[in-house]
């Protein structure tokens, strides 16, 4: 696929996508408020840390303040590094409306990507109250103090989103062959919950579990941007993590585009 046309179309795609996200604001707000898990986990960990701070095997000490900062940041980052293209692709394949997209001289992945990205401003806006709380309870003091980490944050967020999006496209493309490809998404999500640091900061994992997490994409999608924001990494290790994150992003992109291509070929063979 050539890049020239997508780049020219991008502004329009984004504008329409944003208008669409405004039209679906009620659904989105519900969705955002349904991502309660960080708060559930915050309650658990605060109760645990109430008596005495929790010490991680790496030597960091987690008190109530650390948990508050971690899970509130986690909630906000989750809004930015999520994608839902798998559901859209699945739905359109089953309804047959994907045909309308395939008739267009633009790779459908672009329109799925922009519709996901265009919803970001609104999602970010919804997490403003959480940001306010973060400052009100003084948890902002936990944010990274080394200014050299901050320029990396946008790249870490983008890398995290790319992992989420292309995992969605890859799994969505399975719907060309499988009736129940969304179950694969469930598996992905379950792993994501455990290994991304969403339920438990990976820092608190026993060493062997942390080693497993290092070889999976999930921590790079969500845990790493959060840890970066909280200054849990030195510049050197942050750059190494960022490189690993982008390697995952590019790898998943390749897999996703190949699966998409095979899927469309199959779609042409058996019809929609």
């Amino acid at each position: 696929m050539s890049l020239w046309r997508p780049l020219k179309v991008l502004p329009t795609l984004m504008r329409v996508g944003f208008a669409e996200s405004l039209a679906y604001r009620a659904e989105m707000i519900i969705w955002v408020f349904a991502t309660t898990m960080p708060f559930v986990m915050l309650a658990l960990w605060s109760a645990v840390a109430h008596a005495a701070p929790v010490a991680s095997s790496s030597g960091r000490s987690w008190g109530s303040a650390e948990f508050v900062a971690y899970f509130l940041t986690m909630f906000m980052v989750r809004q930015l590094v999520s994608a839902w293209a798998a559901w859209e692709i699945n739905f359109e394949i089953r309804q047959g409306t994907l045909a309308m997209r395939l008739l267009k001289p633009l790779h459908p992945v672009w329109s799925f990507a922009t519709s996901n990205v265009a919803a970001m401003p609104l999602r970010a806006a919804v997490s403003i109250p959480v940001l306010v709380v973060l400052f009100a309870v003084g948890a902002h003091r936990q944010l990274a103090s080394d200014w050299r980490l901050w320029p990396l944050v946008p790249f870490a967020l983008l890398g995290g989103w790319l992992i989420a999006f292309f995992a969605n496209v890859a799994i969505g493309s399975l719907a060309f062959r499988m009736e129940q490809s969304l179950k694969v998404m469930d598996v992905w999500f379950t792993c994501f919950f455990v290994f991304s640091g969403y339920l438990v900061p990976t820092d608190l994992f026993p060493p062997w579990l942390r080693a497993v997490a290092a070889y999976l994409p999930f921590r790079y999608q969500l845990g790493f941007p959060v840890e970066l924001l909280l200054g849990q990494h030195e510049l050197g290790s942050a750059l190494r993590m960022l490189a690993a994150q982008w390697a995952w992003a590019l790898g998943l992109m390749t897999v996703a585009l190949v699966l998409w291509r095979l899927g469309v070929r199959r779609f042409q063979a058996v019809g929609g």
Binding site: S2, R5, K8, V9, P11, T12, L13, V16, A19, E20, A23, Y24, Q95, G96, T97, A99, M100, L102, L103, K104, P105, L106, R265, F267, Q268, A269, V270, G271, G272
Partner: protein
């Protein structure tokens, strides 16, 4: 403009028998069968032609249209649309064509249609001035006015279909595939759509291939028809010659000044409808003048009228006939 040679499209589907036991069995083993949606068809369309593509449900119409639009790979045979191989889905090809499906929509549901138009403008990279002129024309022709700024979900089915057409035509396709464009619309809306399609065909010289269940659409728009049944072509020619071939008999309607008996009318030919004041007869084309003369001589005729059999009847006869043919060939085998 369009050339189809020996096109076949076969699918393998699994049978899903009803009942609990069978469903359980299907957990472990599936029975497959081949469906021949399109089974070797040939036809050609010249530039600027508007052709009706007819056939009963499941005859392979939509499959053929989707193949022509590049959504399906042919199992066998060759398809060319303006020199392109559709299944390769090159941008240059996609920019020239459009497929409009009466039952599938591309409009963004919760945004005004104008947004979809603008999106398509960008995707097809239509210059702004060309786009504005074309959109103005389309909106005026279809009498859409301010409707394009209302969210799609608030539009009626007819209004939505008109907007679908606009969205499909923003890039000025040279080849247009219309799959049941008037389905579910009320009669006045059907007439409006028909007028619009005719005018679009005349003004832009676009090639149009259209399927419809409404014979009025076909009669109004398509001088030529191609009939497909069970994946095979059973007719290709003008509408008039189709009627000629399938039902050469004419319909003679007689209105009487004073009551007549059934026997008197039956003496003239096959009675389709009878009442004391008005009757309808079916007579071979060659005998029309003779029968009319006889009727005028023997009956108190006040008024009469000779026409072809209604197209709906022609079609149902044609489909019934091909069904009977297939049955007899199968019996021979």
């Amino acid at each position: 403009m369009i050339r189809v040679r020996g096109l076949k499209k076969h699918y393998r589907v699994h049978k899903r028998p009803p009942g609990a036991a069978a469903a359980l069995k299907a957990l472990f083993r599936r029975d497959w069968q081949t469906v021949k949606a399109v089974d070797g068809i040939d036809f050609e369309l010249g530039a600027g032609e508007c052709v009706g593509f007819l056939g009963p449900n499941g005859a392979g119409k939509t499959t053929t249209l989707k193949t022509l639009a590049g959504l399906l790979h042919p199992s066998e045979g060759e398809v060319r649309v303006d020199g392109h191989e559709p299944q390769r889905r090159e941008s240059a090809f996609l920019e020239k064509i459009m497929l409009v499906m009466g039952q599938k929509q591309q409009l963004l549901w919760d945004l005004p249609p104008a947004e979809t138009f603008e999106l398509n403008r960008a995707i097809y990279d239509v210059p702004k001035d060309v786009y504005r002129r074309r959109l103005d024309e389309l909106v005026t022709l279809l009498a859409l006015g301010e409707l394009v700024n209302k969210p799609t979900r608030q539009l009626s089915l007819g209004e939505r279909m008109k907007c679908e057409l606009v969205a499909a035509l923003v890039h000025g396709p040279k080849v247009l595939f219309l799959d049941e464009p008037t389905i579910g619309l009320d009669v006045s809306m059907q007439v409006a759509m028909r007028d619009f399609i005719r005018r679009y065909n005349q003004q832009t010289g676009a090639t149009i291939l259209l399927t419809s269940h409404y014979m009025d659409d076909v009669e109004a728009l398509c001088p030529r028809v191609v009939v497909i049944d069970k994946g095979r072509l059973s007719f290709d020619g003008t509408l008039a010659s189709l009627v000629q071939q399938v039902k050469p008999e004419k319909r003679l309607t007689l209105r009487f000044a004073s009551p007549t008996t059934r026997a008197q009318v039956e003496a003239l030919g096959t009675v389709v409808k009878f009442s004391a004041a008005e009757s309808e007869l079916q007579i071979p084309a060659a005998q029309v003048s003779a029968v009319v003369a006889k009727a005028l001589g023997t009956l108190p005729v006040r008024d009469l009228n000779v026409e072809n059999a209604p197209l709906e009847e022609v079609m149902s006869e044609l489909f019934a006939r091909t069904a009977a043919d297939t049955r007899s060939t199968e019996a021979v085998r």
